[in-house]
Structure formats: C-alpha cells, structure tokens
Subunit: 211 residues, 2 copies
Amino acid sequence: MSEQTTTGRAPRARRSDGLRTREAILEHAARLATVEGIEGLSLARLADDVGMSKSGLFAHFGSKEELQLATVETAGRIFDEVVVAPAQAAPDGLARLTALTDGFLQHVEDGVFPGGCFFASVVAELGAHPGPVRDSALVVLANWEGLLVQALERARTAGEISSDADVHQLAFEIGGSLLLANVQFVVMAAPLPLERARRAITSRLDSVRTP
Amino acid sequence: MSEQTTTGRAPRARRSDGLRTREAILEHAARLATVEGIEGLSLARLADDVGMSKSGLFAHFGSKEELQLATVETAGRIFDEVVVAPAQAAPDGLARLTALTDGFLQHVEDGVFPGGCFFASVVAELGAHPGPVRDSALVVLANWEGLLVQALERARTAGEISSDADVHQLAFEIGGSLLLANVQFVVMAAPLPLERARRAITSRLDSVRTP
C-alpha cells in the first residue's frame, strides 16, 4: 500500500484495499498454519512473508490470538466456498453426501491448503489445548459432521438407505476414511489414499442402500 | 543425580542411573510432544520440567534433532510394550487383529500419551515437513499398518475371511476409524468415539467373514 492511504483521497477504494490486504494476509496465514501449525503463526513471521512491518500487521490484528481466530474464520470461508457450497447444488440425500465427500477429497488433492485439511490440522495440534482457537475450529468440524449426518438422515427418510441405518455411526466411519486419506495424502502426495477413501465410502453406503 | 557421579566410584550403578535418567527424560518428552508438538520440544523447556540444567540435558542429547529422534524411539518402545507385544499372545488372524485394535483404543483411553497416539500426533504436525524425525515416525506407522495387513492376510489364508477380501483396503478402513477415534477422544475425553471405532471394525470384519 502506498503513502496515499494516509491522505484523505479515495476513501472507498482505500477501505477496499485494506480489506483485500487483510484477506490476503489471512489466506496466507491459513495456508501457512497447515504446514507450520497455528501456534507457529507469529506476527513477525507473517509480517516477513507478506512484506509488511510487524507494527503494520499488529495494527490489523492486535494479538496473536486475534490473528489465529481470524485465520480460522478465513479458513472456514475458504472451506465453505470450495467444498460445502458447491455440494448444495446436488439433490439432498446420498447425492449430496457424495458431493460433500468428493469435494473434501478434491480440496485435499488440489492442495487448497498445502498441509491438507485446515481443521484436521488445527485439531490435531490443539486437541489437548482447550481455548477459543481450538473451539472455533471445533465449531467448523461439528458443522461439517452435521452436514454429513443431515444428508444421511435425508437419504434415510427418502428410503435411499435402510430405515434402521445408524446415521451417526455412518458419518463417523465416513469421517474416519476422509481423515486418514487426508493425512496419508499429505505425506505421500499420491492419489492412492484418496481412492481408498472413495472406495470405503461407496462400499459402506452400498451396505445400507435399499434394493 | 549427585556430585558423586563425577568421581570414579560405582561406575556400573552410575551408568545405570544415567540410563534411567535418560529414559525418564525421554518418556517425559514423548508425553509432552503429544501436547506441545515435537517441534515444541526444546532442551530449555525439558530441562526445566525434569529439573536439570540445559547444559546437562545438552550433554545427554547434543541437539534438538537428536532429542526428537530419541523421543520417537522411546515412544516406539512404549507403543510396542503397551499395544503390540501383548497382542502377540492372541492367535494369528482375526483374533490378533482385534487384539491390536483393542490395544490401540485402550492405550488412547488410558492416556498413555496425554495428547493421544504419539505417531498420529507427530505425523499430523510434520506431515508437510520431510526430514529424519518425520521419517522415523513414519517407519513406526508403516510397521503398525504392516501388522494389521499381516493379521488380515493370515485370516484370509486360514479361511476366516473371504478369499477375495482386499486386505490393504480393509486395513485402511480400520486405520481410519482408529485415527478419528483417537482425535475425537482427545477433544471429548469421553468413550463414545472409541465405541464407534470398535463397532465400525466389527461390522467391517463381519462383512467379509466367511459363514
């Protein structure tokens, strides 16, 4: 940003620049957190990466915890845009469920976050550290699990799957395959674990599908 | 340890004390790494925790990487003692497989490591950081996966499960449930995810069991 941002000219453009800068910093922070950890996000490191002074960055976020909370929020927005929202185009029920799980595996394969799923990463890191940052990531994970359960409930109501299918148990098993595929893909950078997760989900759903 | 350890007396006892001290430090380091991260293991923090000087600890390990590698080795020994070795008492095949997975879930529930499975924790943290520490943890995970596959192969050879069962795919699905149970247990500190993993593994094995 230029010196002009401290003058009185073009206030709307300036505010928009400021918002864009803030979002660009947070998108970088979200990607970085999946590699270095969200506790590894320091204002100094981030300032260096985005070419701002530490005091300039401090003016944006105030504290490390505010930066972390804003990073979780941005990661949630990205996850929503890339995975959740596109799946809403699929009809509710098994088609929606498959759109959600395929979208999840695709965002891992595409390296939307270089260290894999942002929320898996934060919860693995902060699992034993209760606090607002962990809790904000857990809210996103609970919403995600809720989407899977909801699509399965709809599939059950619509008679796509057996009326006695345990939708919470199914969502757990699907979630387990997604999580392991995510971890293994980051390490191997090869599609085999993603393929295994797709096969696991298909065969598990086939086992409860009505004839 | 007393000043006596710098004199010439009782060398065998001294060496044994030294080994015990080293193991005690590493066991503490392994537990701590599941909460603070293995990158969060600093000689300074550890020295403080075990009541030694940083220079005394440095004499034991030389560098942070040597400390991390020794910590992974100690965690592997603990995992072997608590989970792997006891399962060898079960007959090879499905009984051995169940002993391994039950042992894994029990070590999570018992809080052998307060942040859950040591190796899941290290790989989540260092997944995108190739290097000797990550690789030493991956060797333990590969051995673990090998044990699951081997027990399933034996079950297939013995006719306990269908001759066309895909043992690598089964091991992946079982591993996914174990991993998600581990992560959720650390967050919730309640047995539900462990119960879900047991149910998932039982129903998946039932689906390939011969009549």
